[in-house]
Subunit: 348 residues, 2 copies
C-alpha cells in the first residue's frame, strides 16, 4: 500500500514538474562529437562566383571545420572547438568577420562576437570593437574572466588589454573590396546586407558578393554543446548599430537541454523574433526535434516577416540542422558518424 502511494506521489510529482534544463545524454553517444559552421547566408546567384572562388570558400570552410573537429577528436571542449573554428574564419579575408569585416558608414570596422557554453549557460560577448584581431577570443575572455556578459567599444578593448589580448592597428582590417563595397553602398545611399546580390555591381564584380557573418556550433565528447558567432555587421551601418550576433538569445544561444544555435542574416529580423532562443524554446516546451524547431522558426516565422538569413543548430545527440530563407548559406559540418559535408547553395 505504502509502495503504491509512493508511486502515485512520484507520478504526480513528475507530472507537475516543469521541463528540466539538464537532459542526460544517451549512453551510446559516449566519445562521439559533431560540429557545424557557417560563413554567412545571402541571396546568391550560383553563377556569380567563379569555380575558383567557390573552391576558395570551400577550402576555407574545410580548414575551419578541421581545426574544430581535431580539437573535439582529441577530447577538447565544445567551447574550445567553437573558438578555434571561428578564429580560422575570422583570419580569412573571405568572410565578414575579423580580417574580412565590412566597413561602417564612417569607414571603421566595428566587430561583434558572442560565445555561449551550453553546459552552464555561461556566455560572453563584445560589440563594436575595432582593435581586436579575434573578437570571438575576446568574447570567450568576457565569459570566463568577467562578471559581465556584453561589453562594447573602447570599454571592451580596455578589458581586452587587461586580459593580455593585444591591440592591433586598425589598418589590419582594411581590404580593398570591402572599401569598394562601402563606397558603392554610400553611393546607393542605403544600408545593405553585405551578402545580398547587388544589381549593379554583381555583373562586373562578382568578388563583391562575398559572404558574411561566421559561426560555429559543436558537441564535444563530454556531451556538452556550445555556440559562437562573429561578424562585421552590415556594410555602411551607422549610429553604433549592434546586430543579433553578440546578443544572447537572438543570434547566439546554447543550452545542453535543447540546442546550440548560431544565426546569420539581417540581424534586426533575428532580434525581433529572438531566433536562437525561440528554437531552443520550441524544443523544450513544444517538444519539437531540432530540425522541426529550426524549420518552424526560420522557414516559417522568419519567412513570414520576410526575414533574410539562416542558422546552424546542434543538439546533445549530435543532430544538426541548417535552415536558411536565402538562396545560399556557406556551411559545413562533421556529423557524429564522421561524415563531412560542405555546401554553398540550396541542397538539390
Amino acid at each position: 500500500m505504502k509502495t503504491l502511494l509512493s508511486l502515485i506521489l512520484l507520478f504526480l510529482f513528475c507530472a507537475c514538474e516543469t521541463p528540466e534544463r539538464k537532459s542526460p545524454q544517451s549512453e551510446n553517444m559516449k566519445g562521439k562529437f559533431a560540429i557545424a559552421i557557417h560563413g554567412g547566408a545571402g541571396n546568391l546567384v550560383k553563377m556569380k562566383l567563379t569555380p575558383e572562388e567557390e573552391e576558395s570558400y570551400k577550402q576555407a570552410l574545410d580548414a575551419a571545420l578541421n581545426k574544430g573537429s581535431s580539437i573535439l577528436a582529441n577530447g577538447g571542449t565544445s567551447v574550445e572547438a567553437v573558438e578555434a573554428a571561428i578564429t580560422s574564419l575570422e583570419d580569412c579575408p573571405l568572410f565578414n568577420a575579423g580580417k574580412g569585416a565590412v566597413f561602417t558608414h564612417d569607414g571603421h570596422n566595428d566587430l561583434d562576437a558572442a560565445i555561449m557554453n551550453g553546459e552552464n549557460l555561461e556566455c560572453g560577448a563584445v560589440a563594436g570593437v575595432r582593435r581586436i584581431k579575434n573578437p570571438i577570443s575576446l568574447a570567450r575572455k568576457v565569459m570566463e574572466k568577467s562578471e559581465f556578459i556584453l561589453l562594447q567599444s573602447e570599454g571592451a578593448e580596455e578589458f581586452a588589454k587587461e586580459q593580455g589580448i593585444e591591440w592591433i592597428d586598425t589598418s589590419y582590417f582594411f581590404t580593398q573590396h570591402r572599401w569598394e563595397q562601402l563606397q558603392e553602398a554610400i553611393e546607393d545611399d542605403k544600408t545593405e546586407l553585405d551578402h545580398s546580390e547587388k544589381k549593379k555591381a554583381s555583373v562586373d564584380k562578382p568578388r563583391e558578393e562575398k559572404f558574411g557573418t561566421v559561426g560555429c556550433v559543436a558537441l564535444d565528447v563530454h556531451g556538452n554543446i556550445a555556440a559562437g558567432t562573429s561578424t562585421g555587421g552590415l556594410t555602411n551601418k551607422r549610429y553604433g548599430r549592434i546586430g543579433d550576433s553578440p546578443l544572447i538569445g537572438s543570434g547566439t544561444y546554447a543550452d545542453n537541454a535543447t540546442c546550440a544555435v548560431s544565426c546569420t542574416g539581417k540581424g534586426e529580423d533575428f532580434i525581433r523574433l529572438n531566433v536562437a532562443h525561440d528554437i531552443a524554446s520550441m524544443m523544450r516546451y513544444a517538444e519539437l526535434d531540432i530540425q522541426s524547431a529550426c524549420d518552424s522558426v526560420v522557414m516559417k516565422k522568419l519567412k513570414d516577416i520576410k526575414g533574410r538569413g539562416g542558422c546552424i543548430a546542434i543538439d546533445q545527440q549530435g543532430n544538426i540542422a541548417m535552415p536558411f530563407t536565402t538562396t545560399g548559406m556557406f556551411r559545413g559540418s562533421v556529423g557524429i558518424n564522421g561524415e563531412k559535408k560542405i555546401a554553398l547553395y540550396e541542397d538539390k
Copy 2:
C-alpha cells in the same frame, strides 16, 4: 459523408498547426485597458526607508501610473503609455534611470533603454548614451524612424540629434547620493547592484538603498500590449558593460500573442536565461497562463541560478504578474477593473 471528412480534415489541420502569434482578444475586453510599472527590485530591509521616503517612492510610482493610464483611458496606444510612464520615472531622481542614474566606474552615467510593440514586434533600443534626458523616448525613435533596433554610445546620440532630440549637458545626471554610492563601490572594489542592501552603508545611510531600473507594460483599448525598460545599469560598471534592459528578449519583450515583459535586477542573470522571451515562450508553447509562466521562469529558473530581481508582465486580457526573487520590488498597477495597487515589499 463529405461534411464529416471535411470536419476530420479541419481537426487534423488545427491539431498540426504551430501555435500562431496572433491571438484575438476576446469581445468583452473592448474598451478596457491595464498598466503596470516597476521602479526596480532589490534585497531591502523594510525598516531602512523612513515612512517619508516610502511615501516619496509611492507618490512617484503613482504619478507615473497616472500618466500612463490617462493616455490609455483616452484611447492612446500602449506604446504611448509605456513611454509616458517611463519618462515620468526617468525624470524622478529616486530611480536608477534618467535623472537618477548611477555612475560607471569612470564617473559617467551610461544609460540604456528599450521599447517593444506587441502588435507588430517592432522594437528599438539604445545602450550607453550619456547626453539624452529620456532614453526611452530615443528608443522609441529608433523603433519608429530607424531600420536598426539597437544603437549604442555616440552613434545613438548622433541619431538622436538627427531626429531632433536635444542633447543635454552630462551634469544633468549628477546626483550627490549616486556619486557617493560610486565612491563606496570603488572602495569596496567590486561592482554591485545599486539596489542591494549594503552591509556597511545601510545602517548610517538609508538613502543609499534607493531603487533601480524602471519599466512599464501596458494593454491599450485597441487590444495591443507593449513593454519598455530604462536604466543606468550597475553602479561602478566598467568596460562599456551593457545589461539586460536594452536587449530584446532578455530584459524587454512584447508580443500580443503572449505577453509584454519588463525586467529588473542583476542583468547578467536575465540575459543568460532570456527571461522576458522565456516567459513568452512558456505561454506560447507550454500554454501556461501569465502568472504560471512568470513563476516558472522567475521564481524557479532564475532562483535556481541565484538570480536577483523580478519582472512585470501583462497579457492581452489585462492579466498582470509581478514576481520577484528579492525581498522587494517597487511596483504599481491599474487593472482592467480600474483598481490601482502600489507596493514596495513582498505581499503579506
